[in-house]
Subunit: 557 residues, 2 copies
């Protein structure tokens, strides 16, 4: 079916103008593959929402062409949509990833009761074919081990998708970015580079991960009581450095927090985390060891209210109680939006007497994303004809576009795109095609996709101004009022506290309005409802300068 | 009445374990003064709240002793509670401040229709008496001109309250911190220092404000289209530097945004902002000037959705439209909690084609608060016997306490306090007394103090899970059900979108429950309401894993 004129289509369905839900479609004729299938975590603009999925209906509609899903690394913003996507695809599409990536995915799919997924292990340096596409994988560094960039041979040219990456010259596991492989691919000619933009605004090169180990050792040497370190549980190299620093100063490691327990277990089983059994102690046995002989490795580096660290700060962790003089290291940076939550936990720890070391005052964290000089090096290694900055907010995509222009990519060949935009590549060149459906799907409890903008707008209004329901009973035959109207309010000043005359005055105003509509002979419920809504709304604006949601209910009895 | 044994009482009512609503009581026998009367801005933990006041009922109860309110500088977290406090005091207490501080306060009190306030101008270096207290004021630097530290002579010892400060060796207005005055006070003996802790975690000395001018000049020289600079409108020195850089490269200054227009007007009238009339252009006349000859000075550096800059980013500002290639400088740092809002504006500006320069990528901002070396210098200049770190979250107060200990203040003489804690000073020493009432008062529309924890909890629950109201009509005589129950929901998945069988199934479940309670002969409304609430709650948990607020209303007809 595919002729010389078939165009390759590259469609980011997520990860553009946002940090999260990364997903890119690569499609040629009758073959399609997906790179990554991630989620995004909601913020205050999405009250009550648990997760945000990319709208992947484009993929589901073309499911018969889908040859496989390649996952670049094991972070949830690259893997988290898999359980939902697999259910919607309704058939076991092969999932390709490195060993650790698949290990983390297997655990997640198991939680979602997805039976017998087709997990296909790939290796850095290895090659596979899916449909018409040939793939090769290159080791890259990131804040999780075993990440890869994906090199794709297509009928119209070669593509390199970097995944998330940094170029660490002294990575903890010695697995240096595969410069030779990437450079060789570059020499073969790369028609299109898709590259991680997260830190495109950051100047220079970040420090190597190994320097965090130096800082940890210094801090551990100064501590004469219990040490608690909070970090991302998937950051196995960070965890390794904490373990090494602990063992190096004669302390045992205690692991707490669900994901930290799970991920360290998987990483140890698969050989990514190395610590002797005798140096790991169960949280419940910790009481037997003196505080100065323990390092607690904990979740909660983002200030999550239910995390192990937040529980310690609140004094309600099951096994760890903060004592005056304990050292707490927050070995992470707050994800944008989490700054206040993290600060809240730091304040509580400080109140409890802990010495808190965080990124702001100690070198206890480095980013997992390449900064501008690294991004330029990637561009210079690959010398792409076309460039699409991916994985970042618009500000980052633009900054990355500027870097590409600075190293010599032609301005017309740089495409700052939005989710759902289509990049079409033929042998003669690249161009934008017709946009496809893209967007967000909210997971809210068990509901996937039922919550939309109307509900979110309602929730935001409920939060800022509250709600008042007015119930009016009318006789079904005569249409006349029966009894007194009832007002039930929540989140409004007359709800539970405050001005006690407000409710009585509101009732009086509504009665007056009802008398007026009755006098005018109105029996249509809609008319009565509108009159009541308008009258209470105006009353509350006059009295308290608030416009709560007002729901009039007319009941026929 | 005051005897030798009377103790001086120092009571921070706001500003501890928080950034904002600064207010400190100084009380001795029959005399009381207040230093600062600020507000705090609400965050996502206070949905719908407009402002947060300190609970100053301690002051209002003792209003007859209140000799005056000293305001250290014109920021709202030091002045914003004045309109509310003055109303509650019910008498015109003298307000003391420097010229600019009073100018800004006068505007605010006028907006609140407070007639004839007793504004008393003080000067840096000047002295005044209030009751038994003698005051002297020392110039300090900050992100607003005309700030002072307050030196207080009391019968039991001298106090220095720094206000907010930094030590800028080359301030824009040449008004260097009064080192000689502070040092002289130090030589007289300072029993108690209260000092600004905001940046106690920051190492070293920050750059001088003048370096921002260098950066602005460089950026302005590179720009060949319109330049827009967003900053705090009260940061008159920053505004001065923007004006100077604009005039220096032959551009006119256009001022936009309500507070920017107001504050630059006041500052020019009082002589704090110097720019020739011919170099300031009305926003509506801007169209006549080529873009490369204009600098727009704007509000919105915090990403406020209704600010001038946000309107420009959204394309709905009345007079300024962002063109591809315009330069936008955000000359500020996001206040914690505003990071995402600022980023949202930057992304929109980038989408509109603007070149956005912000603190993360250019030296366009320095803090107005002293970092740790400056705080230590203040401690060394004053050599206080006792020390209370103020103005900061607990983490900052502890960091400042550590600095004080490092420069030699005795550990027992350092008091990390909470709002409402009482520090008592006598000639023999200092100690903590019995706590007094302190806390928060929410301003919500016209209501002051009516919104409390119950309403805020309700609003948070409404936002995350929504609300469902069930109306049931019963015959007043027989107690029997009349008609069908009505369900009205907002913010829940069956409200407007989503699973259409959910509502029908919920109704069926409620009918079943009502049949059951009727079968059991229940007529008590409370019993019926509880049964209905429980049954719908359980139904929704099973079906959608959500627990919205459920309000059953039983109407007698």
């Amino acid at each position: 079916m595919t002729t010389k004129k078939t165009r390759l289509r590259v469609i980011p369905l997520g990860g553009l103008d946002e940090i999260g839900k990364n997903m890119t479609v690569i499609e040629y004729g009758n073959d399609m593959v997906l790179i990554d299938a991630g989620i995004m975590f909601p913020d205050e603009a999405h009250p009550g929402v648990d997760l945000i999925l990319p709208d992947y209906s484009y993929v589901v509609k073309r499911r018969d062409k889908l040859r496989g899903i390649i996952i670049t690394h094991g972070h949830e913003d690259h893997t988290g949509a898999l359980p939902y996507l697999l259910k919607d695809l309704g058939r076991p599409v092969p999932i390709l990833g490195t060993k650790l990536t698949l290990g983390l995915i297997a655990g997640k799919l198991n939680e979602h009761k997805i039976k017998k997924p087709k997990l296909r292990e790939i290796t850095a340096g290895g090659k596979v074919s899916l449909g018409i596409f040939g793939f090769q994988f290159f080791a890259v560094n990131h804040s999780i081990p075993d990440g890869v960039a994906v090199f794709i041979k297509t009928p119209v040219g070669n593509i390199l998708h970097t995944g998330d990456f940094k170029l660490d010259q002294t990575p903890i596991d010695g697995r240096v970015t595969d410069y030779a492989g990437i450079a060789k691919a570059g020499r073969q000619g790369i028609s299109l580079l898709l590259s991680d933009s997260t830190n495109a605004e950051s100047p220079g090169y970040p420090r190597t991960e190994a320097t965090v180990g130096d800082s940890l050792r210094t801090l551990f040497a100064e501590a004469d009581q219990r040490i608690i370190v909070a970090s991302f549980s998937s950051h196995i190299h960070r965890v390794q450095q904490v373990c090494d620093a602990a063992v190096g100063c004669g302390r045992k490691v205690v692991v707490t927090g669900r994901s930290m327990v799970n991920n360290t277990k998987i990483a140890r089983e698969l050989g990514y985390l190395k610590i002797d059994e005798e140096n790991i102690v169960d949280a419940y046995s910790m009481g037997n060891i003196p505080p100065e002989k323990v390092v607690v490795l904990s979740t909660g580096s983002q200030g999550e209210p239910l995390s192990a660290l937040a529980r310690m700060a609140n004094g309600d962790h099951k096994t760890v109680r903060i004592e005056e003089g304990d050292t707490v290291v927050i070995s992470a940076t707050p994800v944008p939006g989490n700054e206040k939550a993290v600060s809240r936990v730091i304040n509580k720890l400080a109140k409890a007497g802990a010495i808190v070391k965080h990124k702001g005052i100690a070198d206890v964290h480095v980013s997992g994303h390449g900064a501008s000089e690294e991004l330029k090096l990637m561009l210079n290694l690959t010398k792409p004809k076309h460039f699409i900055p991916i994985h970042g907010e618009t500000r980052h995509l633009h900054a990355h576009a500027d870097l590409a222009f600075a190293v010599g990519v032609k301005e017309d060949n740089i495409f700052v795109m939005e989710n759902g935009d289509v990049f079409e590549l033929s042998e003669s060149g690249g161009q934008l095609g017709t946009r496809v459906q893209a967007g967000v799907v909210y997971v809210d409890g068990l509901s996937v996709g039922d919550v939309g903008q109307v509900i979110l707008r309602d929730r935001a209004l409920l939060a800022s101004d509250g709600i008042a329901t007015i119930v009016i009973a009318v006789d079904a035959k005569t249409g006349k009022l029966v009894g007194e109207p009832e007002i039930v309010a929540r989140g409004v000043v007359f709800a539970d506290e405050g001005d006690s005359t407000l409710l009585a005055d509101a009732r009086a105003r509504i009665n007056k309005t009802l008398a007026k509509t009755a006098g005018e002979g109105a029996t249509d419920h809609q008319v009565i409802q509108n009159a009541v809504r308008e009258s209470l709304s105006q009353f509350l604006w006059e009295r308290v300068r608030r416009r709560p949601m007002i729901i009039p209910v007319v009941m026929e009895v």
